[in-house]
C-alpha cells in the first residue's frame, strides 16, 4: 500500500550549541507529526516557537538532532536521497528578494529544473506551465527587481512549482507583502491544493490565512500544543492566547460579544458565517422582545 503521509516526524528534537558554550539551546522538543497527502495544514505559533525550524526539517535543510523525519517514507538523514526529497517538498520563504537567483523571470523559474538535469524542452514546458499557474506568464522576460513584492513572491512559487513537487511548505510567504499581494498569494495557495493536488503546509501568524486549512497545528516553545480542525482550534481562544496568539478577527469578535451576554456560536470562522451568526442572534433577540 502506498504511504498516505507525505511528511512524518518521530520524536523530532533539534538543538544547537550556543556561542557561550552553555547548555545547548532546545528549539524542538520531541515533535510527532504526520501530514497526509493532499491536505492543507497551517502551522501557527508566535516568534521563536520553532515553527520555521520545524519546516526546515521537511526538506532536509536542517537535520534532526534526535528522532527522525520521513518524507514519503525516506529518511532525510540519507544524503543520497536529499535531492529527491527537496524536489518532493518545495519551500517558499518570507523574503521574495532573497530567493530569486536570476535576473530574468523565466531564467529564475528554470533554475530548479536545470539543477535536476532535465533536457531543455522539458524545462521550457515546466517553466511555461509554472508561470501560467501563478499568472505571471506575460512577465516571463521581465527583470525581477522591477516587479512588486507580491509578483516576486509569485515568481518564487513558480520556481518551486517547476520541480513538480508533491508538497510545498510556505514559510510566512505574506509577511512582507501589502494586503493585495497577500490576498493574491493566499488565492494561489488555495488553487494549488484544490486544482493541482499539491499538499500545502502554511506557516503563518495571520489567523485569517489559516481559516481555510484542513488542519491547524499550534506550536509553542518547540512543542505541538494544539492540533485539529480550524473550528476546534480557534474556538479555544483562551488556550490560543496563552501561546501569545490571538484567534481570527471573526472569532475574537464573537468571543467578546458572548462575554457581553449575547448567545452566539464561536465557530463561525469566515466573515460571511460570522455576519450570519450575528444577524441570527440579533433577530432572535428582537423577536424575543416582541413576545
Amino acid at each position: 500500500m502506498e504511504n498516505p503521509n507525505i511528511i512524518k516526524t518521530e520524536n523530532l528534537v533539534f538543538s544547537y550549541d550556543q556561542a557561550d558554550g552553555s547548555m545547548p539551546k532546545m528549539v524542538l522538543r520531541g515533535v510527532d507529526l504526520e501530514i497526509e497527502k493532499g491536505t492543507f495544514v497551517a502551522i501557527l505559533g508566535h516568534n521563536g516557537s520553532g515553527k520555521s525550524t520545524l519546516a526546515r526539517h521537511f526538506n532536509a535543510v536542517l537535520l534532526p538532532s534526535g528522532g527522525r523525519v520521513l518524507i514519503a517514507g525516506d529518511d532525510t538523514v540519507d544524503s543520497s536521497l536529499v535531492i529527491e526529497i527537496r524536489r518532493r517538498v518545495g519551500m517558499v520563504f518570507q523574503n521574495p528578494d532573497n530567493q530569486i537567483v536570476a535576473s530574468v523571470v523565466e531564467e529564475d523559474v528554470a533554475f530548479a529544473p536545470e539543477n535536476l538535469g532535465f533536457p531543455p524542452e522539458e524545462i521550457r514546458k515546466r517553466v511555461d506551465e509554472a508561470l501560467e499557474t501563478v499568472g505571471m506568464y506575460e512577465y516571463r522576460l521581465h527583470a525581477p527587481h522591477l516587479l512588486s513584492g507580491g509578483q516576486k513572491q509569485r515568481i518564487a512559487i513558480a520556481g518551486v512549482l517547476a520541480m513538480h513537487p508533491e508538497c510545498i511548505v510556505f514559510d510566512e510567504p505574506t509577511a512582507m507583502l501589502d494586503p493585495r499581494g497577500r490576498e493574491n498569494i493566499v488565492k494561489i495557495i488555495r488553487d494549488l491544493r484544490d486544482n493541482h493536488g499539491v499538499t500545502v503546509v502554511l506557516i503563518t501568524h495571520h489567523m485569517e490565512e489559516a481559516i481555510d486549512a484542513d488542519r491547524i497545528i499550534v506550536m509553542s516553545d518547540g512543542e505541538i500544543i494544539m492540533d485539529g480542525l480550524p473550528r476546534e482550534v480557534f474556538v479555544d481562544i483562551d488556550a490560543l492566547r496563552k501561546t501569545g496568539l490571538d484567534g481570527p478577527e471573526t472569532v475574537t469578535l464573537l468571543h467578546e460579544l458572548r462575554e457581553d451576554g449575547f448567545n452566539l456560536p464561536l465557530d463561525a470562522l469566515t466573515v460571511d458565517e460570522c455576519a450570519e451568526a450575528i444577524y441570527e442572534a440579533l433577530r432572535k433577540q428582537s423577536s424575543k422582545k416582541e413576545d
Binding site: V61, R86, A102, S103, E107, E114, F118, P120, I123, G159
Partner: protein
C-alpha cells in the same frame, strides 16, 4: 547619485551584433584587442577604426552613448597623453622653461590616445550588445575546458550572475539606508574628501550586514531548489552557433591577418 552607475550596461536590441553567439563575441573582442595592439602606422589604425565604426553602425548604438561611456576614463586618457608628449626623447619642436615637446612625443601621444579610446569603446560594444546572462553563459562555456584542471568555472560563473542579479537590489537598499541615516542627521554631501569618506562608514556597515543575511537566505533557497553545484546541471537555453557566427569569426581572422600583413609591408 546611485542611478548613473553604468556597470556592464546593456542596450537591448535585435541587430546582427546583438544576435551573435556570446562566445563568438567574446572571442572576437579578444581578437580585436590583439589586432589593436598589433596595428602600426596610420593605415593600420585607419583599418581598425573602420572596423570599430562598422561594428557600432551595425549594432545601432548611438554615438552619444559611446562617448558617455568613455567619460569615466577620460582622466587616464589625458594622463597618458601628457606623459607621452612631455617625456618622449627626440626632435624638439617646442620648448618652454624646462618643458620640451618632441615630434616623436606628439606622434606617440596621438597613437596612444587613439589606441586607448578604441580599446575602451571596442570592449564596451560587447557589454552594450550582450545581456549579462548571455555573457556569463558564454564565458562559462568558453572556459569549460579549464574544468579539466579543476578550476571552478561553474562556481565563478554562478557567482558572477548572482552578483549581477543583486546589484539593483543592493543599490536600492543603499538608497534606503542613506535616507534612514539622513533622517537622523547624517550628512553625505558636504565636507572634504576625508569627512565624506567617514560619512560613508555608517552606510557600509548596515549594507554589509544585510548583504551577508541575504547571502545566507539565498543559499538556503538555492539548496531548497535542488542546487548542488554544476554537476549534472542542464540549461533551458542552449547556445547554438549559426552561419553568421562563423562568418563573423572568419571576418575577425581576416582583419587580424591584414593588420599583421600591414606591419610587414609598411614598417
Amino acid at each position: 547619485m546611485l542611478k548613473n552607475i553604468t556597470l556592464g550596461q546593456y542596450f537591448p536590441g535585435d541587430t546582427v551584433v546583438h544576435r551573435l553567439d556570446p562566445r563568438v563575441k567574446l572571442v572576437l573582442t579578444l581578437v580585436y584587442i590583439v589586432a589593436l595592439f598589433t596595428a602600426q602606422g596610420v593605415v593600420g589604425y585607419a583599418l581598425m577604426f573602420t572596423v570599430l565604426v562598422t561594428c557600432f553602425a551595425l549594432s545601432r548604438i548611438p554615438v552619444k552613448t559611446v562617448l558617455r561611456g568613455v567619460r569615466p576614463i577620460l582622466i587616464i586618457i589625458i594622463f597618458t597623453a601628457v606623459l607621452n608628449i612631455f617625456f618622449t626623447q627626440g626632435t624638439v619642436v617646442f620648448e618652454f622653461w624646462i618643458i620640451s615637446v618632441t615630434r616623436e612625443g606628439l606622434y606617440a601621444a596621438a597613437f596612444m590616445v587613439t589606441r586607448l579610446f578604441m580599446l575602451i569603446t571596442g570592449t564596451f560594444l560587447l557589454t552594450y550588445t550582450t545581456s549579462p546572462i548571455a555573457l556569463t553563459d558564454g564565458l562559462e562555456l568558453l572556459l569549460n575546458p579549464l574544468k579539466k584542471i579543476h578550476l571552478p568555472i561553474h562556481e565563478l560563473a554562478m557567482m558572477m550572475s548572482i552578483a549581477l542579479r543583486f546589484i539593483p537590489t543592493l543599490i536600492e537598499e543603499t538608497g534606503k539606508i542613506m535616507q534612514a541615516q539622513k533622517a537622523r542627521g547624517a550628512d553625505f554631501e558636504s565636507g572634504g574628501l576625508i569627512k565624506r569618506a567617514r560619512a560613508i562608514l555608517p552606510l557600509i556597515i548596515p549594507l554589509f550586514i544585510s548583504a551577508f543575511r541575504r547571502a545566507d537566505e539565498l543559499a538556503i533557497a538555492m539548496e531548497s531548489r535542488c542546487y548542488h553545484g554544476g554537476e549534472g546541471r542542464t540549461r533551458m537555453r542552449v547556445l547554438k552557433t549559426h552561419f553568421r557566427d562563423y562568418m563573423a569569426l572568419f571576418g575577425g581572422a581576416i582583419i587580424l591577418a591584414a593588420v599583421i600583413m600591414l606591419r610587414r609591408v609598411l614598417p
